[in-house]
């Protein structure tokens, strides 16, 4: 059954004010187009969950969409800090921002508990750290078999997850390669899943390589075909990270007026990702293109 729709309709149907939202992807395949659509539709009071908030959450926070950030590392990867995140966390501008803080391992374990319908996930994490004192969803648990102990985290189950992949069929079975991050468990843990891809493919392509499938149609509510939907982050085999955009954001975001101007130009001023990509221009896209390098094929065998 086709679930193909536009990002506009997927966000309008899938995301409500007050929702907890996980835009997935660890540095790779970050759902920038979805984030911009959430800003355009002026969603409010969102709990933004994500291991690495990255530029996209900084933009959502700057646009006034967020009431809370649940995270484990809030920075501009390879560049520095997130100015809008800091302004909200330190000074409540433009809104107060509640923080729920984990380590990467802790947040991923919590998401895995959510995906697994478990009341907690154990990890040897947070040991010797001051973090557990500041988060009630982290607790110490004794081993029932010896005098060992672990920390446990409570499950995280977002209302909505937006996940990206290189290709999927129209019903939402998706192949993802390169860095997998937390994409799978974010999709599994969430109630509603919006899947956005670089390419649509046939069901036969998916079925030719079932070990490559990261998300299956049962878990997907909306499928969006959004080429370059992760710019300025990247899609393995399709385009690289646009580092200029990461460096620029550090400057823009330090100044609320420049942030407004940037949002006007690149978010409110375009209707959808296609317009955004047109605005980027061919030159910039070509600079991001890798050479081809295909994986050595495998033979699944046709059995009678």
């Amino acid at each position: 059954m086709s679930k193909l729709t536009s990002m506009h309709d997927a966000v309008s149907d899938g995301v409500s004010d007050g929702d907890s939202v996980y835009l997935a992807g660890f540095t790779h395949l970050i759902p920038f187009a979805a984030g911009h659509e959430i800003i355009r539709q002026e969603k409010r009071d969102l709990e933004l969950i994500r291991a690495t908030p990255d530029l996209i959450y900084d933009q959502l926070i700057a646009a006034g969409c967020a009431r809370k950030a649940t995270f484990s590392w809030a920075g501009n990867p390879g560049v520095g800090s997130l100015p809008a995140f800091r302004r909200a966390a330190e000074d409540g501008i433009p809104t107060e921002l509640e923080l729920e803080e984990y380590t990467h391992f802790g947040l991923i374990a919590a998401l895995d508990a959510g995906a697994s319908n478990l009341p907690f996930a154990p990890l040897r994490g947070f040991i010797g750290s001051d973090l557990p004192e500041h988060n009630d969803n982290i607790a110490r648990v004794e081993s029932p078999f010896d005098d060992d102990y672990v920390y446990a985290v409570a499950p995280i189950e977002p209302d909505v997850a937006v996940v990206r992949a290189q290709r999927a069929d129209e019903s939402g079975n998706a192949h993802l390669w390169g860095i997998q991050g937390e994409v799978k468990i974010a999709g599994l843990a969430a109630d509603t899943v919006i899947l956005s891809v670089e390419e649509l493919c046939s069901e036969e392509t998916i079925r030719s390589d079932p070990n490559r499938t990261v998300i299956t149609s049962d878990d997907v509510d909306h499928v969006v075909h959004d080429p370059y939907g992760s710019h300025p982050s990247y899609a393995q085999g399709y385009y690289g990270r646009d580092n200029e955009a990461y460096i620029e954001w550090a400057e823009i975001a330090s100044d609320v007026d420049r942030v407004e101007a940037w949002l006007d130009e690149w978010v409110y001023g375009v209707e959808n990702r296609r317009e955004y990509v047109e605005k980027l221009g061919v030159d910039r896209l070509l600079d991001l293109q890798p050479d081809h390098s295909y994986a050595t094929p495998v033979d699944m065998g046709a059995y009678r």
């Binding site: 990867p77 990467h104 947070f126 010797g128 750290s129 001051d130 860095i179 997998q180």
Partner: protein, 254 residues
Amino acid sequence: MNYTKSELMVVAAARELENDDSVLVGIGKPNLACNVAKRTHAPDLQMVYESGTIGSNPSSPPLSIGDPVLASGAVSIEPMRNNFNYQLQAGRLDVGFLGGAQIDKNGNINSTVIGDYDDPDVRLPGSGGACEIACHVGRTLMITPHSARRFPEEVDFITSPGYVDGREGRKELGLSGGPEAVITDLAVCRFDERGEMYVAALHPNATREEVRAETGWEIEFADDLETTPEPKEEELRLIREDLDPDEMYTDQAE
């Protein structure tokens, strides 16, 4: 030979790595240090990144720990859950690089807040993978500028445990391993049997006075205080020509 402090720090860090190590690499200088080591004395160095890439062999300096150059040509890529459980927690990684705004006398690291947690003077990025790297690798390394602000006697917030309140304190928590070396722009510091940081080697031209002035407690110096060996020609060539030609992470000497 001419070289900059950045180059010296990278090379000093590279020399901390052994041939059979598996290392959890960070971005910037740690990445350069690992690549220098791999191309000189440690060809079998296994480079693992927080993003789950194992056996990466980057063709250019990664812009982030999730850069596509770390994925293309890697030996394996793990989802984050697997990487944390099977690689890090299971003790498969020998060395990890950490960074932070503050490091204290016992090697505890703060990358969370300056000031009070609930009303911070400066909100820092947070742990990311650091806390559990500090818990589970055999040896942690830091590369950081030397300044009194960065080296308080006690950190405002323990994000990642070093020796906690001493080597015994760390052991009581069930943790082995711990901080191995802190490489600054003045010195190479190590940790004594109590788990306290001391200066093991001064960089060429650096003085005890400079180190004392830039450290937030009365730091001790080794009886057999050494001088950090200078970078070799081949190491500098690797950094300047192959690994960081654009001087993204090193301000290179002429």
